[in-house]
C-alpha cells in the first residue's frame, strides 16, 4: 500500500472509532450547539439588564444642608417635567421620543450630612453614591451669577459613576434650558452662543465586548476539541491495551502518528467550525450583531469563514502539542493531568492577546496562540490586516506545528511509552539511560529551533532601532548573542545528551575538492541572488521598509572600520549560522529523514529565521544550496567559507560605490551586465559540480551502538 493508502486506512479507522464515542460527540456537538447560545444569551441578557436597571435605579445623594437638598430636588423635578413635556409635544408614538429623549432622574434619595468630610467618607464607604456641594445655596438668579457644583464620587463603583453621569447630564440639560430662556428674553438668536456647530462621525471600530472575547473563546474551543481525541488515541489506546496489538502490526510509528494526528486535527477543526457556526447563529438570530461588529451590516460572514481557515494551522499546532503531551501518559487520568498545565500555558499568550491594547505586531506576530487570537480579532473587528501579518502568523504557526508533530512521533514510538512496565518512565529524560549517539534526533533539533525562533525574533525586535537611529547597537548585540544562542545552546544540548559533537556539527577537515566548491559557490552565489531579487522587485516591488532598513544599514556600516564590519556582518553570521543550520539542524534532520527532505527543511527553517518575508524565498533557496554543500562535503568548513564570502561580497558591493549606488537606490535594482551574469553562473555551476561527489563517511567515528543498528 502507498503511504497515502496506509495513512487513509489509519485515519478512517481512528475517525470512526472516535466518532462512535459518546463523549466525543457530547464535547463536539452538544457543548457548542446547546451550551453556547444559552451562555451567550444568558450573560448578555444579564449585562443589559444590569445596565438598564442601573439607569433607572434611585440614586443616593449626600448634601450639606436641607436647602441645598431641596434645591437639588427641585432641579430634578423640573428636568423630569421638561422631558415629559417634550415627550408629549413629540407625540406618544414618535420614534424620536423613544430613542432620543433621556431618562429623567425619576427620584433621588437625598441625605443630609454634617460636613464635607463626612460626605467624602460616606462616598468612600459606598453608603451614598455621589456627594454634591453647591455654592452659593441656590440656582443662579441673574445672568451675572454662577453656581459652582462640586461632586464627590468613586469611579471604581459602577453605581457611583452612573449616578454622577446622570447628575452631570441633568445639569447640562438644565443649563441648556436656562440659556435658551435667557436668549429668548434678550432677543438673542439661537446661534448667539453657538458660533460653531460641530458634528462628528467616528470611523474607528470601538472595541466591542464580544468581538474582543470571541477570538479567545474560539481558540480555547479549538484546543478543547483537540484534548479528548488526543487523550483517547494515545493514552487511551495504551490503557486499553490496543497499543500493543497495533505496534505489532507492520506499520511504522510515523504512519500511525500522522494518521492519529490528522484525526485529532479533524475533530478540532470540526469542533471549531461548529463553535463558529453556533456563535454566528446565536449572534445573528439573537439580534446581537452590533455587539460583534460596529457596522450596521451585521455579522461579517466572509470574515467568519476566513477566521475558520486561519484556525486550521492553529488546530494543527494544538493537535500536535496535545498528542505530544498525551503520549507521555499511561492512563486517561494521567493524560488529563498533563493537559491542564498546557491549557494554562496557552491561556497566558491568549490572554495577553485578548487585551484591547495589544496589536498584531512585533513579537505578537510569532507568539504561539497569541498571534492567532489577535489575527482572528483584527479580522472580526474589521481592521486592516496586511498580507505580511497573515503570512507571519500562518508561517510561524505551521513551523511550531511541524516541530510539535516531530516531537509527538518520537515520543510515541519510545519503548517506555508503549509498555508501561518497560523500564522507568523517567528514563525518557534521564541522561544516564541514553546511549551515546552520533546525531541529535529530528525532534530535538526541531523543538530547539521552534523555541529559539520566537526568542530570536523577540531579541531582534527589541534591539531594532527607532527610525533615524543607527543599527550599530543591533549589530554589536547580535555579534555576541549569535554565538551564545546559535552555537552555545546547541553545544550544551549535545554535551548534555551525550551526542557526538564533532559528528553533529560536521567539524571535520573537508577534501580539497569540497573546499574549492565552497569557495566557488561563495564567490558566485550573489550573482543569481542579485538577479532573482531584481526580478522579484520588478514583479512585486519592494516594500518601503526594506529600502529604509537597507539605507540605515548602509549608513551604519559606513561608519564602522572595515575589519569590524566584516567581522560583524560576514564572519560571525557565517560561523554561527552554519553551525546551527547546517551543523546541528541538518545533522539532526538527516538522522531520520531522506537526504533531500532534510536539505529542504533546513533551508526553509533558515529562510524563516531571516524574518523579512520579502526575502524568504531567496534566503531559503540559499539555505538549500548551503545545506547541499554541507551534506555532500560532510564538513562545515566549505559552507562556512561560502557563507562568509557571500556575505562579504554582498556588503562590499552594496557599499562599494559610495557615490549613491547603494542597496537602497533604484540603481541597485538593475540587472547585472551579461558577462558578469554568465561568469557568475558558470562559477556557481562548477562549484555545484565539484560538490556533487559526496565525501566518504569517516568510518572511524562510528560508535558501537550505531554500528550495530
Amino acid at each position: 500500500m502507498s503511504f497515502y493508502g496506509r495513512i487513509r486506512t489509519i485515519y478512517v479507522k481512528e475517525l470512526t472509532d472516535i466518532l462512535r464515542d459518546r463523549r466525543t460527540l457530547i464535547a463536539m456537538i452538544v457543548v457548542p450547539i446547546v451550551l453556547y447560545p444559552l451562555l451567550m444569551l444568558g450573560s448578555i441578557q444579564a449585562i443589559s439588564y444590569q445596565t438598564e436597571t442601573l439607569a433607572q435605579e434611585d440614586i443616593i445623594i449626600g448634601v450639606l444642608s436641607e436647602s441645598q437638598g431641596r434645591w437639588l430636588y427641585r432641579l430634578i423635578e423640573a428636568d423630569a417635567q421638561a422631558i415629559e413635556k417634550n415627550r408629549q409635544d413629540l407625540g406618544p408614538d414618535s420614534q424620536e421620543a423613544k430613542e432620543e429623549l433621556p431618562f429623567p432622574l425619576a427620584s433621588a434619595d437625598i441625605r443630609r450630612f454634617a460636613s464635607q468630610d463626612e460626605i467624602q467618607a460616606q462616598v468612600r464607604n459606598r453608603v451614598i453614591q455621589v456627594g454634591v456641594i453647591l455654592n452659593p445655596n441656590g440656582p443662579p438668579q441673574t445672568t451675572q451669577e454662577q453656581t459652582s457644583v462640586q461632586f464627590f464620587l468613586d469611579k471604581e463603583d459602577v453605581r457611583s459613576a452612573s449616578a454622577y453621569r446622570r447628575l452631570v447630564d441633568l445639569i447640562e440639560r438644565t443649563t441648556a434650558r436656562i440659556v435658551a430662556a435667557r436668549k429668548a428674553r434678550a432677543g438673542l438668536p439661537d446661534a448667539f452662543d453657538h458660533p460653531f456647530v460641530v458634528s462628528d462621525t467616528d470611523l474607528s471600530s470601538p472595541p466591542s465586548i464580544l468581538g474582543q472575547i470571541l477570538p479567545l473563546i474560539l481558540v480555547l474551543m479549538t484546543i478543547t476539541g483537540a484534548i479528548y481525541p488526543a487523550i483517547d488515541l494515545t493514552a487511551g489506546e495504551r490503557e486499553r491495551g490496543t497499543l500493543e496489538s497495533l505496534m505489532v502490526s507492520p506499520v511504522s510509528v510515523n504512519d500511525l502518528i500522522v494518521g492519529k494526528f490528522l484525526v485529532v486535527t479533524t475533530v478540532a477543526i470540526l469542533g471549531a467550525a461548529l463553535n463558529l457556526a453556533s456563535v454566528t447563529a446565536t449572534v445573528h438570530f439573537g439580534g446581537f450583531d452590533r455587539m460583534i461588529s460596529t457596522t450596521s451590516e451585521g455579522i461579517p460572514f466572509g470574515s467568519m469563514l476566513f477566521i475558520l481557515l486561519c484556525l486550521i494551522p492553529f488546530a494543527v499546532l494544538m493537535s500536535a502539542v496535545m498528542i505530544a503531551v498525551c503520549s507521555f501518559a499511561r492512563t486517561f487520568k494521567e493524560a488529563q493531568n498533563y493537559v491542564t498545565p498546557v491549557i494554562l500555558a496557552v491561556l497566558v499568550p491568549g490572554g495577553i492577546a485578548a487585551l484591547p491594547a495589544t496589536r498584531l505586531e512585533g513579537i505578537m506576530l510569532v507568539m504561539p496562540v497569541g498571534n492567532m487570537v489577535l489575527l482572528a480579532r483584527e479580522i472580526l473587528l474589521g481592521a486592516i490586516v496586511s498580507f505580511e501579518q497573515i503570512a507571519w502568523v500562518l508561517v510561524s504557526t505551521t513551523f511550531y506545528a511541524a516541530a510539535a508533530v516531530t516531537v509527538a512521533a518520537s515520543i510515541f514510538g519510545q519503548e517506555s511509552v508503549v509498555f508501561a512496565d518497560a523500564g522507568s518512565f523517567g528514563s525518557l529524560f534521564s541522561r544516564r539511560a541514553l546511549k551515546r549517539s552520533n546525531k541529535p534526533t529530528v525532534s530535538t533539533v526541531m523543538l530547539f529551533t521552534a523555541l529559539l525562533f520566537p526568542a530570536w525574533f523577540f531579541i531582534q525586535t527589541a534591539l531594532s532601532p527607532e527610525p533615524g537611529e543607527s543599527l550599530g547597537g543591533l549589530l554589536y548585540a547580535t555579534s555576541w548573542l549569535m554565538p551564545a544562542l546559535f552555537v552555545g545552546l546547541p553545544l550544551l544540548i549535545l554535551l548534555y545528551w551525550r551526542i557526538d559533537v564533532v559528528g553533529s556539527l560536521a567539524l571535520r577537515m573537508p577534501s580539497g575538492r569540497h573546499l574549492a566548491a565552497g569557495i566557488l559557490i561563495g564567490l558566485s552565489a550573489w550573482v543569481p541572488v542579485h538577479e532573482l531579487s531584481v526580478l522579484q522587485f520588478q514583479w512585486l516591488g519592494a516594500p518601503e521598509s526594506i529600502r529604509q532598513s537597507g539605507e540605515i544599514l548602509k549608513e551604519t556600516l559606513l561608519s564602522m572600520p572595515r575589519g569590524t564590519m566584516l567581522l560583524v556582518v560576514a564572519l560571525i553570521p557565517a560561523v554561527c549560522e552554519e553551525l546551527l543550520f547546517r551543523g546541528f539542524l541538518l545533522s539532526g534532520l538527516g538522522s531520520s529523514m531522506k537526504k533531500w527532505t532534510a536539505i529542504l527543511v533546513s533551508g526553509l527553517v533558515f529562510g524563516v529565521f531571516h524574518f523579512f518575508l520579502f526575502k524568504f524565498a531567496l534566503t531559503a533557496a540559499l539555505g538549500i544550496v548551503f545545506a547541499y554543500l554541507c551534506w555532500q562535503s560532510r564538513s562545515i568548513l566549505p559552507v562556512m567559507i561560502a557563507h562568509f564570502l557571500h556575505n562579504a561580497i554582498g556588503v562590499l558591493l552594496g557599499l562599494g560605490a559610495e557615490s549613491g549606488e547603494d542597496v537602497a537606490s533604484e540603481a541597485a535594482w538593475a540587472h547585472l551586465p551579461l558577462y558578469v551574469l554568465a561568469l557568475g553562473l558558470l562559477t556557481l555551476g562548477i562549484g555545484l559540480a565539484l560538490a556533487s561527489r559526496r565525501a566518504e563517511p569517516p568510518a572511524s567515528r562510528l560508535l558501537p551502538a550505531m554500528a550495530e543498528a
Partner: protein, 254 residues
C-alpha cells in the same frame, strides 16, 4: 529450516539511580517449522520481554534474533509481517465490530480492501466468530474477545506465531478451542512460540520446552529429556527442581 533463531539475546532496562536491570541475559534458542516451543518460567523471568524482542516491539540491547530471515534489530517492520503476536494483554478496539477490527488489521498488513474482507470472512468462519462478528468488541465476552484476537494475530497467515499466555482468564471450553486452533496451525508447518503458566498446557502442546529463570535459559529439551535431567516425573516438579526453587518451597513451608 529454523524459522526463529535467537542468539545471545540481552535486554537491559535502565532503572533509577543508575542501576540497571538485565531482564534477558544471553538467551539463545531455535524453533523449526511445524514445532511448538514452550517458554516457561516464573514471573519476572523475562518471558514477556523475550517475546517482545522477538516481535520487533523492543530492540535488543545486544545479541540478535532472526525470524524467517529478518533481523529484529534492523528490520522490525519486516519481522512484524511474518509473525502473529497474541498476548493476554493485547486489547481490541471497543468501538469497532469484530469484523471491522479484523479488516483493519488486514489492511495494516497491506492487503487491498477486497482481499482484506475475504480474509476476514475466512477467519470469522474458521474461528466461529460469525454469531458476534458484527457486534462491537466492547460487548463481547472474554472468550469471544480472545477468538477475535486470534483472528487478528492470524490475519496475514504468518509463518511464525508468538503467543504469550493465550488462554489466560479463559474458561475450559474457550481455552480448548484456542489450543486446538494453535495445534492446527502447527500442523500447517508454522513455528510457534508459546509462553504459558499452565504447565499441563505446556506438557500437551510443546515439542521443546525452555525453562527461563532470571533472564537465562536453565534447561531446554523435550519433556522426556527434562525428566531425565531433573529426575522428576511431572513438569511442575521438573520446573521447581531446575530453577532450584524446590528448596525454597521447602524453606517456606517450614
Amino acid at each position: 529450516m529454523d524459522l526463529v533463531v535467537a542468539d545471545n539475546l540481552v535486554k537491559v532496562f535502565p532503572a533509577p539511580k543508575g542501576r540497571e536491570k538485565r531482564a534477558v541475559d544471553g538467551l539463545s534458542f531455535r524453533v523449526g517449522e511445524g514445532k511448538i516451543y514452550g517458554l516457561l518460567g516464573p514471573n519476572g523471568a523475562g518471558k514477556t520481554t523475550t517475546l517482545r524482542m522477538l516481535s520487533g516491539l523492543m530492540a535488543p540491547t545486544s545479541g540478535s534474533a532472526i525470524l524467517a530471515g529478518f533481523n529484529v534489530a534492523t528490520e522490525p517492520t519486516n519481522v512484524k509481517r511474518v509473525i502473529g503476536f497474541l498476548t493476554a494483554n493485547t486489547g481490541l478496539y471497543q468501538r469497532l465490530s469484530a469484523r471491522e477490527l479484523i479488516v483493519y488489521f488486514a489492511r495494516l498488513h497491506g492487503m487491498e480492501s477486497d482481499h482484506a474482507r475475504d480474509r476476514a470472512n475466512t477467519l470469522i468462519n474458521r474461528l466461529g466468530i460469525g454469531e458476534f462478528a458484527d457486534l462491537r468488541c466492547g460487548a463481547l465476552s472474554t472468550g469471544q474477545k480472545q477468538r477475535v484476537n486470534i483472528a487478528r494475530a492470524l490475519v496475514a497467515d504468518p509463518p511464525i506465531l508468538i503467543m504469550d499466555e493465550p488462554t489466560l482468564g479463559l474458561d475450559v471450553l474457550s481455552g480448548r478451542v484456542i489450543l486446538e486452533y494453535i495445534k492446527r496451525q502447527r500442523d500447517q508447518g508454522k513455528a510457534i512460540i508459546l509462553s504459558t503458566h499452565y504447565l499441563d498446557e505446556a506438557e500437551t502442546m510443546c515439542d521443546t520446552i525452555g525453562l527461563l529463570h532470571d533472564g537465562r535459559l536453565v534447561a531446554e529439551g523435550d519433556l522426556e529429556s527434562l525428566r531425565k535431567l531433573s529426575g522428576q516425573e511431572r513438569l511442575n516438579d521438573i520446573f521447581l527442581k531446575l530453577i532450584h526453587a524446590d528448596e525454597k518451597v521447602e524453606a517456606l513451608i517450614e
